[in-house]
Symmetry: D2
């Protein structure tokens, strides 16, 4: 068992907390969070509350899960790494590409393992898709279609601190695109609109986008985004190869269908990322246990964070200029 601490017990934090507690290879001992009920939360998973120094100074703590608010990630991650703790950082490392690249020396060759958790990497369906691509069953990958549609738009007050659609949402798709396509992208083009909620436009953001990426050979990736699908959390990838197509389809909540005269109704899609990617979050935690055991290198780390963020910034630039952007 590897003794670990967690910083932050908010929405995503509580997911990681539960997974860490249930993981038989991890012993979640300390929780850092200023909220009044932090003690209760910690107790519910057999941990106790500590402050940051208590975590950093406790030699028995091998790793730290950083699940606090995004604007604190970079500082906390650096502190933990400096203290020699392996880090599980909920993505993103930071929303500012310049700040991130400024820390390159420290983060790209960190003193302790740095795992930046991108949930799609650990989704069993997308992993199975990637395995199919690697196996060559559909030949050489030529084009890719990523569908990432949220069930419903976030409240408008969330927009200003979100980083905008591309950094907040499409970032996952940039991560998938780079993971699935073999070569680096050389150009990006995006169109984005506000079709869902005018308040999002007023807050300076968009809610609907199509983004194209291509590599030097002319392989193309299309990313489809909306903040409101009207049909749950629509998460699919289609990969078109020289010898066929591999598809990771949508996942319904159960295998029940009801047939009436009007047709057959299947179970609804998951209502959001917490349920759709529940298994992926468990997989992330298992990967962290592997890292702590020295059995794996972080599958997504500093480089993945920078690459995705750079694409997000370029996409926004393409929208602003109305022209493709060379990468």
């Amino acid at each position: 068992m590897h003794r670990i601490a967690q910083i932050g017990a908010g929405r995503m934090g509580s997911v990681h907390l539960g997974n860490a507690a249930a993981n038989p290879r991890l012993d979640l001992a300390l929780l850092v969070d200023p909220r009044p009920d932090a003690g209760e939360i910690a107790a519910s998973v057999g941990a106790r509350v500590a402050d940051l120094d208590g975590v950093l100074g406790d030699a028995s703590i091998e790793g730290v899960i950083v699940a606090s608010s995004t604007d604190t990630h970079l500082t906390l991650v650096r502190a933990c790494l400096a203290a020699g703790k392996a880090v599980f950082c909920e993505k993103p490392l930071d929303l500012d590409l310049a700040a991130l690249t400024a820390a390159e020396a420290e983060l790209s060759q960190p003193k302790a393992p740095l795992f930046v958790a991108f949930n799609r990497h650990f989704d069993p369906h997308f992993r199975a898709l990637r395995a199919k691509l690697k196996s060559g069953e559909v030949g050489d990958l030529e084009t890719l279609q990523i569908v990432n549609h949220d069930p419903a738009a976030p409240p408008a007050h969330f927009i200003p601190t979100s980083g905008g659609l591309f950094k907040d949402f499409t970032i996952h798709d940039f991560d998938m695109a780079g993971w699935l396509m073999p070569d680096p992208f050389v150009e990006i083009f995006a169109w984005a609109s506000c079709l869902v909620d005018p308040a999002i436009a007023e807050a300076g953001d968009v809610d609907t986008a199509r983004t194209l990426l291509r590599d030097a050979r002319g392989r193309i990736c299309v990313i489809s985004n909306t903040r409101r699908s009207g049909c749950g959390y629509d998460q699919r990838i289609e990969a078109f190869g020289s010898a066929g197509m591999a598809v990771a389809g949508d996942v319904a909540q159960d295998a029940v269908q009801v047939w009436r005269e009007a047709g057959a109704v299947s179970a609804p899609l998951y209502p959001g990322f917490m349920t759709r990617y529940a298994e992926a979050y468990r997989g992330e935690m298992d990967h962290f246990a592997d890292i702590l055991a020295g059995e794996a290198e972080p599958e997504t780390a500093y480089a993945a964070s920078v690459a995705s963020l750079a694409l997000a910034e370029a996409a926004a630039r393409s929208v602003a200029t109305g022209a493709p952007v060379r990468l």
Copy 2:
């Protein structure tokens, strides 16, 4: 082009009429039907009205489609065969097994080809299923599940002349069972209930049944019937082999799905046999053209009719006695 006549232009007759007219190898010249508008109907497909003697005495007529009411089939078929005409007889040849076996000498080795049209044989989906079984892709067939569910119960006044559920409806499944399973059945068992419409029970019939057939090796076929599915015309077959399962699934009316928060709704099933088996009826007519051209023997003839009818009578006996019946 083979010159043919048709007897009967009722519900099924009009289907055959249209298919015969559209078939490029058939020249539908004569129609026999006493209804007042028979002339108009004939004209609409480029034919003219005749009486039975006119058909039988016309040497240019090579074949006759017998699509009159069931109680006239046997008499008309014998007359046509006696006149040397190839016959396409809408199933059944007759509802009375004794009457049918009494005519064995004449019908099992007929003077001209006798094709008794069982529509499932010509359905492309069931044909594809049979081809899969023949190919050995699922190993040796061991058990079979036939689902034949009607959309809605017929009016009660139809029941007395229908022959009852097994002769009128399950007859198609007995035909499929014998076509798909390799060995003769040795025993049958059936339970039947009236769950759909009490008027059917009052008319002496049942509307819901499960029938089991088995062969000498212990291979088992289950037939599932209801007169009212509540979800359209549910027509499926599952074949379980030693190396897997082959399924001919339901056919939706189109490939459109609508995804809402409550789930994905597929297109409805077909509302009945006229639409679901439209392609099968065209295939029957094409088979008749093959027979007239001397390119095929009738795929279903006297023997198939007798075999299915015998199973229907045995099923009814099993229901009456509450015990399995040896065949």
Copy 3:
């Protein structure tokens, strides 16, 4: 947290052990098992080894998971109940109906809660199916089709102590049939064959069966069993109602499809009950935590065990006599 013990750490036992250890509401403290590595196994989930008396005499232990071999269930369950421990007993309570009914007084009104774990009850797909039936979306349930096909036959040496196909395997389907259909069954009929492995016949058992159940109103349930599907663990239920059909379909291992010229290949079914019902086993453990917390009555207990076992014995009798059996 409820402090519990477990007896038995074999194949099923290890599943329950892991789920108990991961359940945040349960504190698995003691393991009883004579195997040499029991100490290691216990340590891996934070427990220690004890003997039966140590469990029964430890007042802090609120509940016991009985996961030892089937022939010890009845004795151990009675001992635990006598000691006032709530019991989670892996099904079946016993393979002998007479022994079970002899213990009725003690087990049907036990001193402490007795939960006999039938995994299908806790499968999310079958639970969703039942909820659909209860909601009335498909009207009144009229007939039921349960498919329970094992991937591959067990080794022949397993057969003699298994209780035979109906008690060992179909028992789950009898449980589902009673759970899903509203009224008691009044008659049963079964045909069974040995088509998979002659060694099974030599051991006195069958490997392929179709079983029919009906209630007083004439509603019918068909159970389809084989020991070897050739296509993984095929677990489905179709429920036919007066207003449509509700289906709990097969569950593939992931949502990936590969499209080639020969067609689209979906992911394989699960290879067996350990993976297919992993979530159900977690659900069972959660239900036990509910019971210990006084928040639920055992969903399946003595009565469910007796009912399923009685149907299994009647099915075997029907096969032996070749006739339906009144219940």
Copy 4:
């Protein structure tokens, strides 16, 4: 019955010939084609050979199917219209936008009905999709995804006279985009590559493309094209609305699935447009019969041809310049 003639009996011509002959409302009397076996072909559908003047001068001929080579379409269509014949012209009217717009006066308000046949309009699946969009079941249409993937690349010698990918192939998708989305497009952007066959690049064309269209409100349509799918003829449309998604999925050749341990294999997709759109071609002919009967205006005519061709030219310009093109 409306008496008609057909010009051209090549690959597409033979499809129209068969459909015209089988259509009960059409009397195909004359065939114009210089090939030596034209007489035989005509006879097989009950027609006879004529020359163009014979058709134009025959007052009994109400309509003409123009199915000759593309470069003759414009001349023949104008001659037929001038002679007062209704015209069914296999798309495209012409590959040259300037030539087409030069004939606007004559063709946009023709003396007789001019039907330019775009097959997707008459596909029952896409018609059902459009009906769903019109019904409002998925709210307001916001974005559209059109997948049009050919099974295999054409021989390179076909490329020079084809008009190129956008005019030859994507033209159908431009037609669908305009049909399904409510407002005119204001901008187009396309990337295209040669990934399938270098001979296509040598011939100056591309074989893989992604094209984006948007309207003034910011609604976006993505068109996905490849000349070689590796998995048959992949023809799908996904429409994303404010209240859900409507999808016209791929159509398999039959409803049979084979389940093995490796997964379930569905039937292959159709191998090409002749089979996949067989029903659409019959629908086109039926629409022509409606037009001849005065019961319908041509659903696709001059305006549709010009609109699609203009988008094809703009797409090619976007590829050439690497920038979006205002429309």
